[in-house]
Amino acid sequence: MSSERGMSEGTKLKSIGEAVSRIQPGSRIMIGGFGLAGYPEGLVEALAASDIRDLTIISNDLGSRGVGLGKLLTNGQIRGLIGNYYNWNPEVAQAYSEGKIQVTLVPQGTFAEAIRAAGVGIPAFYTATGVGTELAKGKELKEFNGRTCVLERAIHADVALIKACKADELGNLTYYKTARNFNPLMAIAATLTIAEVDEIVPTGSLDPEAVVTPHMFVHIITKRERE
């Protein structure tokens, strides 16, 4: 992204560096992606290159050891994790067993719904998933239609770092294939939503029927500089 064009006051378009400078130490940060598909690579690289620490990362997984989101752990920037699948990055179990980080596991569907719930103003919800298992320990139970359910709370974040395919200048977003995953959910569940996109197009050029995340949820739009 050139530093002048489209950068008038009030614009949501920022450089990756400016975007990351808005993140405070100790923040709860949602990061989109599933494995290495659909995570905001430029933002994660810039965060990993920063000295912003004590972070709670809310994400499906943590990439692989030293790769993608895994860099944040290797760098010692993480205090806590909330997510569901860390078997692709063995450094997580290691750091957890050494007492270096806290980890809260949430079943993947409950995790997705808890993020959505935060975005749509639902503080908690009941689900049958996980009832009786270690992941439901200490949580309230209630029976509905003969089935025991567990109360799960919404998951909110200070910042969401998401990946989309295209943004228009207002911040309407479209997604690409399985890179969509948690991104549209996280977009609505954080106080500050930063979207990294592949392409920024003029307002009016996206098919309104194709917009998945309406612009009101997006605060900053950024794009990787071409190398």
Partner: protein, 229 residues
């Protein structure tokens, strides 16, 4: 007790996947299924015709064969992070919608692996607490939400221990959720929460299978040789 079977581990896995694919093909109707990693993913190799739609919880309905060569797109993967292809009529959606399909009972079956399945249809397949794993993924959502839970697993561990057990010893993923278990040695169903042997592999006698299986099971009056093909 160890039984040396005249089939290799690879053949065992293929047999399990083939038998589960047959279970779907026999129904001869439109089905939406979710396949876990390992043996369950292999089921896709034996599914023919356009009636069976594979859903992956990372947000796709209509998963095609694994992608190779220049077809590989790292933004198009299944839940096991393998690059896949699209089938005609494929669609994409976010993770909440994906698990809405699962939790909401819209997915006809999930095929998953397991460390243990017990006599009450409880399943342990999310963690071996050895300090090296930390992850649950969608396992709990899938066993709780899918209309039918099909376990595809080898009959014994690498040490020859039965994976069909009296009572799960590992942390449980879901209680009383399993409907069908297919191993290389037999096909079992749960009927009124009791384990019933429906089909038995040609290489093994009922006596030997009973000795090899920790869980107690009933033998179906209509016990059949395992349908292989």
């Amino acid at each position: 007790m160890t039984v040396t079977l005249p089939i290799s581990e690879e053949q065992a896995k293929e047999r399990i996947a083939t038998r589960i694919a047959r279970h779907f093909l026999e129904q001869d109707r439109k089905l939406v299924i979710n396949l876990g990693v390992g043996i369950p993913t292999m089921v896709a190799n034996y599914i023919r015709g356009g009636n069976i739609f594979i859903q992956a919880e990372n947000g796709i309905l209509g998963v095609g064969p694994l992608a190779e060569g220049d077809k590989i797109d790292r933004q198009l993967i299944n839940a096991g992070r393998q690059p896949v292809t699209e089938t005609p009529g494929c669609s994409y959606f976010d993770s909440a919608t994906s698990f809405g399909m699962i939790r909401g009972g819209h997915v006809d079956a999930t095929v998953i692996g397991a460390f243990e399945v017990d006599e009450e249809g409880n399943i342990s397949n999310w963690i071996i607490p050895n300090g090296k794993q930390l992850g649950v993924g969608g396992a709990m959502d899938l066993v709780t939400g899918a209309k039918q839970v099909i376990v595809g697993m080898q009959h014994t561990t690498k040490d020859g221990k039965s994976k069909l057990v009296k009572r799960c010893r590992l942390p449980v993923t879901g209680f009383g959720e399993v409907d069908l278990v297919v191993t290389e040695l037999g096909v079992f169903t749960f009927e009124a929460r009791r384990l019933v042997l429906k089909e038995i592999a040609p290489e093994i006698s009922l006596k030997a299978l009973t000795a090899l299986t920790e869980a107690r099971f009933q033998v179906s009056p209509g016990l059949q040789p395992m349908a292989l093909s």
